[in-house]
Amino acid sequence: MLPIPRTARGGAIAADAVPTPAATGGPDHHRRARRARRHRIAGVAGVAAAATLLVPGSALAVDPTTVDQSTLLESVVGLADEVNLFWLIFGTALVFFMQVGFLGLELGFSRGKSVGAGVAKILVNLSVASIAWWAVGFGVAFGGNGDDGVGSTLIGSSGFFFNNGTDLAGTSSGATEATTFIFQFTFAAVSLAIVWGATLERIKFIAYPIFGFVFVALIYPLVVHAGWGGGIFNDIGPGHLDFAGSTLVHLTGATAALAAAIVLGPRLGKYGPDGKPRAIPGHSMPIFGIGVLVLWLGWFGFNGASTGSTDGSGFSHVIAVTNLAAAAGVAGAAITSKLVLKSFDVGMIGNGAIAGLVAITAPAGFVELWTAPIIGLVGGVVVVLGVLAFDRLKIDDPVGATSAHGLAGIWGTLVTAVFASPRLVDEAQQGLWYGGSFDLMLTQIVSVLITIAFVFAASYAVFKIIDLTVGLRVSEEQELAGLDISEHGMYGYPEQFIPEAELIGSAK
């Protein structure tokens, strides 16, 4: 069996280093592992103390001919722990690289007059998200669920201004927490990146750092705390299943994107006098395509490293499942596009890959390989129909974030309750396909509804406040000129806008 930890991906690290019965399988593995996990995530400081005892220095500094068995065992355990940590840091790199994917996707779908703005946005967002996650977000998300008297099921209360390896200031934390901290940061950054896809070509730059800070410090961490932080989603019915974040990461980002698009309103020229949506073609399908492929690659870390460890090689299963779903998402979107739109729309096919990936994110570690093509294919169909529907509703989402991450995220979360395999989840969490009860489906539905309601209300409020104070949208004149020249004073593609005769200057 694949001993894939269920929800508390980061929190699982420290104890997985010890071969307890909970970590080595057995009929009651999941139930016990779950209890253990709930204990483990009871406050960053508590986990740090435990981790120090369990990881006795470098595993390699041992002479096997003279060492006694217990020391050898400790060394092997220590080495296993380091392998697990390395896998998470490798996953961190892959998920971080997804920012390049979002950059490509968003720039490709923008017109040439607003591409520099997209570049500046990605950079400033990473900056703001890093700081917000360090100062506040990580503590809110993973700072304890009340089991150890730290935090509550609604909000964590330790780990602010994360301070690795010292107790001089802030919260003392060990290497494992540093791994969780940085690994989980990349997920927060992904969720934030999703938000902005719907806001392209008309949003004021100042809105990025303001909303970005609130989102990464509070909105996103509160949702993550409810799930992976040991919070309320674990107490609904048999406990919700969201392996790598169809709901927690993608639906959260997409819901904020929806709020942003509604407050902003559509781009000038998006709707004709007859109210029908008009095409505003993005400037580069090649850049878009590179973005999609980078995201696809990054997802191997997003889902694969969400195993939290390399134990039992469960990550290989997860990555295989992930790839199949993406492939099926492409097929689903291509077929739907041809049937509904009469053409193989390049953007829709790319969205199909993303939708397949988003859909498989919640079930990736809980389902069998054969279900992945079904999950991805439906995701691909959903994203095409979703983009058309949002367009009709006068919600201008240039990249389709609300469909690819939102609708496909909901689909992925719900379908987990259908296909969750008894081999991989608690008995109480078996999917309907395997004769499981309807409780898990209810749990998934409730967690989705709570996420949408909370994130939409909070994001809508923040965007409204930004709109009423510093302003959320640029002027009509600035929008027509493009964000590059109006917000940044320069062009992303200067040769397209400055005639050569003026660029070259006077010869004398």
Binding site: P277, R278, A279, P281, D345, G347, M348, D391, G400
Partner: protein
């Protein structure tokens, strides 16, 4: 002196240029332009929405010649630019008051004379 202005399909330009060069008329300018006429637009479909472009790309040729050479130029353009389908373009002829060669400062029709083949630098 007359200026011949022609709006043609891109693929017609190269044969026109080659023949005019052979006839001793290497001097012309072109511009990439967009225009509309009876040729129908191209509809772009993008993410479920569509956008019809009625402005189609064409090449605009400008060529100033002596009055006696106008018919040669026009005939050459008509010969190569005609496919018989809507969208072949149009030719206009208009008067020109004066012409100067910048390199030498000379003025008048002599700046427009047809060139022998060995005068043309390749």
């Amino acid at each position: 002196m007359k200026m011949v202005i022609a709006y043609i399909r891109h693929e017609a330009f190269e044969p026109i240029r080659a023949e005019l060069l052979g006839l001793g008329f290497p001097s012309l300018s072109i511009a990439e332009v967009k225009g509309s006429g009876r040729q129908k637009g191209v509809t772009e479909r993008y993410r479920g929405a569509s956008l019809t472009n009625y402005l189609r790309p064409k090449v605009k040729i400008e060529c100033v010649v002596d009055d006696g050479d106008v018919q040669t130029i026009v005939d050459t353009i008509l010969k190569h630019a005609r496919t018989g389908a809507v969208g072949d373009g149009k030719v206009f002829v208009m008067p020109v008051e004066e012409a100067y060669r910048i390199r030498t400062g000379e003025a008048g029709a002599e700046t427009l004379q047809a060139h022998e083949a060995d005068e043309i630098q390749r």
